[in-house]
């Protein structure tokens, strides 16, 4: 077997017998690799993910470690060599998946911008969800059509649109469809067209 799998490579490297596998490079990487992999791997757990960017669907392995406070740190994200889709390979976007997973630019709390104002105001989840529920109900009641001009039962809400989901898990997308259709939404779109 000429192509070592990542796991095979890891075992070889850890066992310190990787020389043969890398002799083609003209020098032995085993020792350096061993140190690097041990830093990544020590105490780590493997979790499986899929790249969040395009729809090739490259499988990822995320190495994580539990913190003393019970949280989880990601140590490393790399391509999953077992996948028949990517066989371990990643593009620049997938290879930087760690950056987006642990971004310091995240919106970390609900923000509210009142009409005509110049700034966001941090608000509580409870305030925001109550306010949204009120707006959704009022807009639904105002724009709901039970019968059209020719007397057909149509039961549709014309004044609320939902758009999104290309980054949802499928099950989240299904749930969004389910609740939005129950509200009567007809303007329901995601990124398939655009």
């Amino acid at each position: 077997m000429t192509t070592a799998t990542r796991r095979g490579f890891f075992k070889l490297a850890v066992a310190g017998t990787g020389t043969a596998a890398f002799s083609a490079l003209g020098f032995d990487l085993a020792e350096a690799t061993q140190v690097k992999l041990q830093l990544h791997i020590a105490g780590a757990t493997e979790a499986h993910s899929v790249c969040p960017y395009c729809a090739v669907g490259c499988s990822l392995i995320a190495f994580t470690r539990k913190r003393a406070d019970g949280g989880t740190d990601i140590l490393q994200i790399e391509g999953d060599p077992d996948s028949p889709v990517n066989e371990g390979r990643l593009c620049p976007k997938g290879a930087s998946a760690m950056s987006i997973a642990t971004s310091s630019r995240r919106v970390e709390q609900p923000l509210h911008r009142e009409p005509g104002t110049r700034a966001w105001k941090p608000v509580s989840w409870d305030f925001m969800m109550d306010r949204l529920a009120r707006l959704v109900k009022d807009s639904r009641d105002r724009t709901f059509v039970t019968q059209d001009d020719t007397g057909n039962t149509v039961n549709r809400c014309e004044g609320i649109a939902f758009a999104g989901g290309a980054a949802f898990s499928s099950e989240e997308g299904y749930f969004a469809t389910k609740v939005m259709r129950a509200l009567g939404a007809v303007y329901l779109e995601q990124q398939a067209r655009v």
Partner: protein, 813 residues
């Protein structure tokens, strides 16, 4: 994709149109290169598959292609039409396949016609066709007359031949700009692919779909594939590369105005009950030997959906709560949302993971639309050009009365659930880390919001609360459903036993079964969640038993874990593979074996009553002629709405006569530019280092591609005195982009009907939000590529024309 990524290694010839996989889907592109490097593949005696890249721009895909054809953007119907004509004129089609596996032998009724660029049934006032004029010549039962010799002048085959006879190599060249000799070299390679021992794939992306002829652009490729007998075969098919991680899954689950989960049509006003609905929407059987599986079972899938949504409130007596499903008045797709807002009819918009401002089209007009809303909700992990629109370019916050909410949502890696890739493989992922900050899962936000709205209706009453009150939320915690619970709901159950089903064949129309999405029934049977399966390339011998790259126990693909759709067509009439070295399925005397068959698993193909091969269509065959698209039963070349030339096929109907012109329909001015003021053709695209707009927040990627730019062909740059790195202004009738010029040989001039045409290219990624924008606060005010694009859609899908429009180009100061 009808096929899947790894399957591309099985092909002999790859046509890539409207796509740049080496840069936009680089890891998927390895399968193209494996075919190219495999000496068993390829036209003639092999030596490796050939790659033909047809694109306005010479990209990294072109660099490794065997042939690069520079094409004028938006003219691929002419290219495919020319290939169809070449194949038919030279009798290179796969005769047995065309005769038995397509509707070539169906006779078309006399009311169908085509003249001067218009199909029959055109209404110029409404800009629509009466598609009923395009039907088959059918008997009282609805069965079409057929002529198996394909000689009848009203047969689909002869009509097709006549339609494309106009697409001569000279005509192709004068429309597309591809030199005639280069076109003919490619045509001769394509012509070889009608042999049973050869197979070709067509791969495309939004460079083909995002035109006012988008649906027909795809159909023209599909027609070619049917004529060559390449649909249903490993290494064949029509393969769309999708651009976001889970567009496929969320299209399947119907976040799309015109469908319910599993591609069931949304009912229309006037369909009063399930019988009306099925009668209008289900495909009709047009041959006695057609199974018409979808049409025949339509009601079962719909009732199983209604039953899982509305539970005990969905009864036989109330048509399983059919009235609870909203019936749209008309097209309610993406552009329509902002059109309604401009008309003052839209109160609120909820956006999740997509930003209207950057996406456009016509971003300036979208900004106006957003400012007319009462409220806007942005559920996202990071700020977007929509969450920040109220202080975006040209906006005065004090004048923007929209109430805006930024709802912090979790990232993909903070939740589990499945992503479905372009090849329909549904792959489960783990929750790797906990949500950052106060971020919450999108579905928990939606559940919380829904429950609060429901409480308001319970307390206050209001308009038709029934579907809200009765919607099933049978989760351990209705405020926090798990994605595992939802995956089980999608799969569906037998209500009598409570057991999860393993196939949609078990679904019933009497309310005794459920399925949230019938095409996913079987993804999560009693044996467990098959989307989690991981038997991959660690053991190819065991995990890929056919050696065809199906890997049936890696994840799960819809429908029924089938890896190549329509695979009955991969075998001949007797069930033998067209190419025994590349079998899809085959009849072993008692069973169909190989891939999961797209056919009854024990149906003997030699039985005279054996069903036709395409079990999902009413015809039982592939459709060379179809009255489903709203813009014509055969694809026809029309110019983009903004074009520098007239359509030489029919100048009196140059652009699509049925493209939807939103502004005109709403009584607003159209704002289309002409070549006199906007002489250059522009197109838009992605770069490897960015994914739409999200990656403006990723430091590494911003370092790799730090600033907006415009690609300008070097000959044009010389004419305009533009040097590499100069600031340039690109303007359309609708707006302007100001960015650096990248002067390049990747773009070059085209000769179109004796006229020289220049194309410029605009990457889409930049705007006024993100790291680059923070580094360049002034410049980034003019970085939105989609301020340039027109507010129009194609007739059927209403997909915007992002990929072909007119601009002017000036060197700045």
């Amino acid at each position: 994709m009808t096929n899947h990524w790894r399957d591309i290694k099985n092909t002999d010839l790859i046509l890539i149109n409207g796509a740049n996989p080496a840069e936009a889907h680089p890891v998927g592109f390895q399968w193209f290169m494996r075919a190219k490097l495999d000496p068993k593949r390829g036209p003639g005696k092999g030596g490796g598959a050939k790659i033909i890249h047809t694109d306005p721009r010479f990209t990294r895909t072109s660099a490794v292609a065997d042939t690069y054809l520079r094409i004028r953007t938006g003219t691929d119907v002419a290219y495919f039409g020319g290939l169809i004509n070449y194949v038919l004129q030279n009798n290179l089609h796969h005769a047995e396949y065309v005769q038995h596996y397509t509707n070539a032998s169906w006779l078309v009724k006399d009311s169908f016609g085509f003249k001067d660029g218009l199909f029959s049934g055109y209404d110029p006032a409404k800009r629509t066709y009466d598609t009923a004029t395009w039907g088959y010549d059918a008997d009282a039962q609805g069965f079409a007359k057929r002529d198996m010799t394909l000689q009848d002048p009203r047969s689909v085959f002869q009509l097709l031949k006549a339609h494309y006879a106009r697409y001569t190599p000279e005509m192709v060249s004068s429309i597309t700009g591809i030199p005639k000799d280069e076109f003919l070299k490619v045509a001769s390679l394509v012509g070889e692919m009608g042999r049973p021992d050869k197979v070709m794939t067509i791969v495309y992306a939004v460079g083909l779909t995002q035109h006012t002829t988008g649906v027909q652009l795809i159909r023209s490729g599909a027609l070619l594939q049917l004529l060559l007998g390449n649909m249903g075969r490993p290494g064949g098919g029509m393969n769309a590369e999708r651009g976001h991680a889970n567009i496929q899954g969320n299209t399947d689950h119907a976040i799309s105005w015109e469908i319910l989960p599993g591609y069931l049509a949304i009912p229309a006003p006037g369909e009063k009950n399930l019988s009306d609905y099925v009668k209008e929407k289900a495909p009709k059987k047009s041959d006695p030997n057609s199974w018409n599986f979808f049409g025949t079972n339509y009601k079962k899938f719909m009732v199983s959906l209604l039953k899982v949504w509305y539970g005990d409130a969905a009864t036989k007596d109330n048509e399983f709560a059919f009235d609870y499903i909203p019936k749209p008045a008309g097209n309610s797709s993406w552009i329509s949302i902002y059109d309604e807002a401009l008309r003052g009819k839209m109160d609120g918009v909820i956006l999740s993971g997509m930003t209207a401002t950057s996406i456009g089209p016509d971003s300036n007009q979208v900004l106006q639309a957003l400012s007319k809303l009462k409220w806007l909700v942005v559920m996202d992990a990071l700020p977007t050009t929509s969450s920040e629109f109220w202080h975006g370019p040209g906006m005065t916050p004090a004048d923007v009365k929209t109430e805006v909410f930024m709802v912090p949502a979790t990232h993909w890696i903070e939740k589990d659930g499945s992503f479905v890739n372009s090849g329909r493989w549904s792959q489960w992922k783990d929750q790797v880390i906990s949500p950052q900050g106060q971020a919450r899962h999108d579905h928990w936000i939606m559940a919380d919001l829904f429950n609060r709205v429901k409480a308001l209706y319970q307390k206050e009453g209001g308009k038709f609360p029934d579907p809200i009150i009765h919607l099933t939320l049978d989760y351990k915690d209705p405020l926090k459903p798990t994605l595992d619970e939802i995956a089980q709901e999608i799969n569906g159950r037998d209500l009598a036993t409570g057991k999860r089903l393993s196939t949609f064949a078990a679904l019933k129309d009497d309310g005794t079964t459920t399925a949230g999405d019938w095409i996913y029934t079987g993804s999560y049977p009693e044996s467990g969640n098959l989307m989690k399966r991981r038997d991959g390339v660690q053991d190819p011998k065991k995990n890929d038993p056919t050696g065809m790259g199906f890997y049936p126990n890696w994840a799960w693909s819809w429908p029924l874990n089938r890896r190549v759709m329509y695979n009955r067509a991969s075998a001949d009439l007797e069930g033998k593979p067209w190419d025994p070295t590349r079998p899809g399925v085959q009849w072993n005397g008692t069973h169909w074996v190989g891939d999961v068959p797209d056919y009854p698993p024990t149906m003997n193909p030699k039985d005279p009553k054996a069903l036709l091969p395409f079990i999902m269509t009413g015809e039982g065959t592939g459709r060379l002629f179809s009255n489903t698209p709203l813009d014509g039963p055969f694809p026809e070349h029309y110019e983009p709405i903004e074009s520098p030339v007239e359509n030489p096929l029919h100048p009196q109907n140059s652009a699509s006569p049925v493209a939807f012109l939103y502004d005109q329909a709403a009584g607003r001015p159209n704002r289309f530019g002409t070549a006199a003021d906007y002489p250059y053709v522009a197109t838009t695209y992605r770069l490897t280092e960015h994914e739409h707009y999200l990656t403006q927040h990723v430091e590494h990627l911003v370092q790799l591609q730090p600033e907006a730019f415009v690609e300008v062909p070097d000959g044009l740059a010389k004419e305009k005195g533009i040097k590499n790195g100069d600031m340039v202004r690109v303007s359309s009738k609708r707006g302007k982009v100001e960015a650096r010029a990248m002067v390049t040989k990747r773009l070059g001039p085209l000769e179109i009907a004796g006229k020289r045409v220049w194309q410029v290219g605009i990457p889409i990624h930049w705007g006024f939000v993100g790291i680059s924008a923070e580094q360049h606060p002034e410049k980034s005010q003019h970085w939105l590529a989609n301020v340039l694009t027109p507010f129009v859609g194609d007739a059927s899908a209403r997909t915007p024309e992002f990929k072909a429009f007119l601009v002017n180009l000036e060197r700045m100061g």
